[in-house]
Amino acid sequence: MKIVYNWLKDFVDVKATPDELASRLALSGTNIGGIENGPHGAVIDAEVSSNRPDSLGHYGIAREISAIYKLPLKPVTPKPKESTAAKAADAAHVEIQSPELCGRFTARVIRGAKIQPSPQWLKDRLEASGVASINNVVDATNYVMLELGHALHAFDYDKVRDHRIVVRRAKPSEKIRTLDGIERILAPGICVISDGDSSRAVGIGGIMGGAETEISFSTKNILLECAWFEPVAIRRAARALKLHTEASTRFGRGADPEMAELASRRCSELILQLAGGELLSGVVDIYPGKRAPKKILLTRAELLRIMGADVPDKEIESSLSALGFSPVRVDQNRGAEGSLLAAWECTQPSWRADVEREIDLIEEVARIYGLDKFPPRLPAARQGAARLPHYEAEARLRERLIGLGYQEILTIPHVAEDRDALFRPPDVQPARLANPLSEEANVLKSTGIVTMTTALEWNLNRGQRNVRLFEIGRHYRLRGSESIETPILTIGATGQAREKGLYETAREYSFADLKGDIDALGAFAGGSTWNEGGSAWLNPAGRGRIALHNEAIGEAGELTRRVAEQLKLRQEIFLAELQLAPLYSAIREAKESRKYQPLPRFPGVERDFSLLLADGTHFSDVVAAIRALNIQEIANMEAVDLYRGKNVPAGQYSLLVRVTFQSRETTLTEAQLTDFSARIITALEKQLSAHLRST
């Protein structure tokens, strides 16, 4: 809504500069988009909130100003000269068949008007308001709309069949060509203004008039409609028609039904002034929706309970009076100013459908009094605050991943269906969008992997070759008609694990990096284990499933070449996805059950076993074979070197296993160690056909 500063002065004698005025309006609830100084003076752009249709006219804004500055608001009392010979009631007939859509319909008739261009002053005000000038009669309706906030429509009286208006619901597939020249198909539930026997639509009630009855330069006689339409029906209709007009905005937010007759009178006055002619006496006024004004009680007790600081009686009364609520003290202590028991009975003005309750009155008082007058303070806390249950586990995972060199990302879950399908397990029902913005974003990711690959791709395409990323997020799936959001950790890495530097050589990121890093996370949860297997998009030779206490929580591995090529990823990509809920609870449990292990008092001794093993024999087989010997003094076993190639027969590999022996009771003797080693070698030779290499 563009507010023409000079126009306001028709109604309130405001002295403040446009800047000051805009600032005060903003601080009392009229959002200000900006101020422009044009040829017609200052124009303030007010972004009126949807609950305040009364502010969609200069008179309504003037009322706000009168309340803010405590200035009198000039009344609007148009008294157009009426014909003594003819009555409107004889010249026009109105019937409302759908009072649930149209609560009031007024019609006035003006005969012998001369349609011509508007005078300059009128053109100027319309132009300043951003409304095009058409002719004096149409301009008069627009002018009154901008002035009083109520939309009107002028018909060519002679084109309205039988001079009869019937307001009804649209018939199925009913058509109308609106003023903008577009033929529109109406849906039932839309309010239609029809004429004659009601077979022809001549307007969409509260939205736009029809082309067939519009005012032209040959129009002589005018039928002036000023009505009131049900807001919800208007909003539905405007949305269904995709037709949002000045009229639909005002009626859709809830116009003032009482204003209909006044605005009609004001507009008639203006038409007589601009176009001459004769106004038939009286008005046809069908008003099935008339309501008695609501009484609302405001108590100081409630004001204090909500606002936490007081407002003086005078301020309460002057603000509410200026806004039209006619407050009357009704409590026992009427004489006592500032009484805690004070209560005011207020009357809801017809233009403030948004104010129905005591809380609404409190807001009115507070905003006019000034929100800055309520002193800020911090409320006392009455109970302890809690973080999310997984706060600590999540924080530790995140810190460790960052320490391991991974950067945290946040991705948009909207992805393309075909891309999502690459990683989606076969039995998963994706969460597709009914109204996606594009086909590239028509489904919510059913795995974290799909957006992780996009993030890697983004970086690879921009020369960032060595990237390690992680995301703590969710994936989204459906089960029937239910949605399932699962918290997940997704890891993606590519390029070099270590770049060539001054002191080190370069090394490519490998499966072992991924495994080591995941195990570093699993350590928080009491240790993770790995099993064979994994999704089809993972390279079968470099993948595994991750479990905590035998419960599978995810998988990790190298992206297959097939998928990598499809995504045009031209280097090895490593990916992992873990479910966070079981990981979080395992971390919590592990933390709770962790106990101190006394440090060994006797030295540990390492023995290396250089083994030749058949391909397919795993390190875990070696460990199991040694464990089976049940030697209590074995403190640790690790693989320290692995070699294939020269000097190693085909089909075999060389593995160096380091065993640490340590006793809690005594220093181990050479004889004991020799015995342990012999037993280990025997076991490995027997069970795994391992050969001990001479080192």
């Binding site: 919800v232 600081a309 303070r377 605050a385 391991l404 969460a431 960032q464 008609s481």
Partner: protein
């Protein structure tokens, strides 16, 4: 190197009687002179050989100054003087011994500095650079906000991003065809036929107000960080996904003053104590009174003028930046969660994190948050 004159040196070679000293109070100046002489010489001992000579002068067993004092002053002194000489001598000895030792250490340390250029590290070269990751900037801002509110008694809760119209709209006093729904263009899920209710991507974190109040009785004090979605075409300032932190405090005595106090506390913690704040009346269906909350522009300091002349582009010359919407919980909302609106009151707010981060760090394109370019991520370790 300034050495002491022979006369001075000689003093310790002569018994006190010969120096004409008979009274104890005459001893102090004598020792003070000695200490001055020592300090002077100490400063001059700047390499190993001069230090050795200096040490022998003072601590030499046969003819060091301290030995001389013992032999010539202390031993022959009268009973009256002996006690004082002893005291003075002990003090001087402590001073001499500790300073000589310190001097030695500093000379040795200096010797490392003279190592050849070949052996020295080049400090301009980097150390071993290990790859270290980073927190996403949005996560950092979320964490900071969470910490501030946690410190004043707000618990943290999370909720689903896929919501029902009931929680996203209806229970928040936004019935169907409410004009506010036009401002929140909404993504809906494509559900199988016969689905009991539509599902949508939440347009704000406010549904968690309802879910929280359904589960808990007052006092309630929570914040809800999370992703929200609006069906806007993406550009530099719009993303169809962004992050919000919802706040809700309900109790039997929460007032508007508590609300503004809480918000001001937060903003001063977040942007710094110098920031000015204002509350403008506004409209949201689920708060009453409703406000828009502004802070003084952090780019122009609230002046509205750009540094290089003209108006500040961030606040468009107003001096204020709109941060978020908030207000006192509308009593109608309590009806949906079976709270008694006559007994409880409270406030709620919902702030956009991406915008806050953009303001604080001068980011002019919201899309960078979601592109995850490693070069961007590294800027905020």
């Amino acid at each position: 190197m300034t050495m002491s004159t022979p006369e001075e040196k000689n003093k310790t070679g002569l018994p006190l009687v010969h120096l004409g000293i008979a009274r104890p109070e005459e001893l102090a100046p004598l020792f003070a002179d000695l200490r001055g002489r020592f300090d002077e010489e100490c400063a001059c001992a700047c390499d190993e050989s001069s230090w050795k000579q200096f040490r022998d002068t003072w601590l030499g067993r046969k003819s060091g100054v301290l030995t001389q004092i013992t032999d010539n002053w202390l031993k022959p002194a009268t009973q009256e003087l002996k006690r004082v000489v002893g005291q003075e001598l002990n003090q001087l000895r402590a001073h001499v011994e500790s300073n000589i030792e310190e001097r030695r250490k500093s000379i040795e340390a200096g010797a490392d500095e003279t190592a050849s250029a070949r052996e020295r590290v080049d400090l301009s070269l980097p150390g071993v650079i290990r790859p270290i990751g980073s927190h996403h900037l949005i996560r950092q801002v979320l964490q900071q906000i969470e910490d501030i509110f946690f410190s004043i008694g707000f618990s943290v809760v999370e909720g689903p991003e896929i919501e029902t119209p009931y929680y996203n709209f209806e229970a928040l006093n936004i019935p169907e065809f409410h004009p506010v729904r036009d401002d929140m263009d909404t993504f809906y899920l494509d559900l199988p036929k016969g689905a009991p209710q539509p599902l949508l991507l939440r347009t704000h974190t406010s549904p968690m107000q309802i879910r929280t109040m359904e589960k808990r009785q007052p006092p309630v004090r929570v914040i809800v960080p999370g992703k929200v979605y609006r069906r806007d075409n993406p550009d530099a300032t719009h993303s169809f996904i962004f992050h919000q932190v919802e706040g809700l405090a309900v109790d039997n005595d929460i007032t508007f003053c508590d609300f503004t106090g809480t918000i001001e506390y937060f903003v001063k913690q977040f942007f710094g104590p110098g920031v000015k704040t204002r509350f403008r009346p506004s409209y949201f269906p689920f708060t009453e009174p409703s406000v828009e909350f502004d802070v003084s522009c952090i780019f122009c300091g609230g002046s509205g003028a750009a540094a290089g002349g003209g108006t500040c582009s961030k606040c468009k010359g107003s001096g204020w930046i709109e941060l978020f919407g908030a207000g006192m919980v509308d009593p109608a909302v309590y009806g949906f969660v079976k709270y008694d609106p006559k007994k409880v009151s409270g406030f709620a707010f919902g702030m956009g994190i991406d915008r806050l981060a953009m303001l604080k760090y001068g980011i002019d394109d919201i899309q960078v948050f979601f592109q995850n370019d490693a070069r961007f991520l590294r800027q905020f370790p």
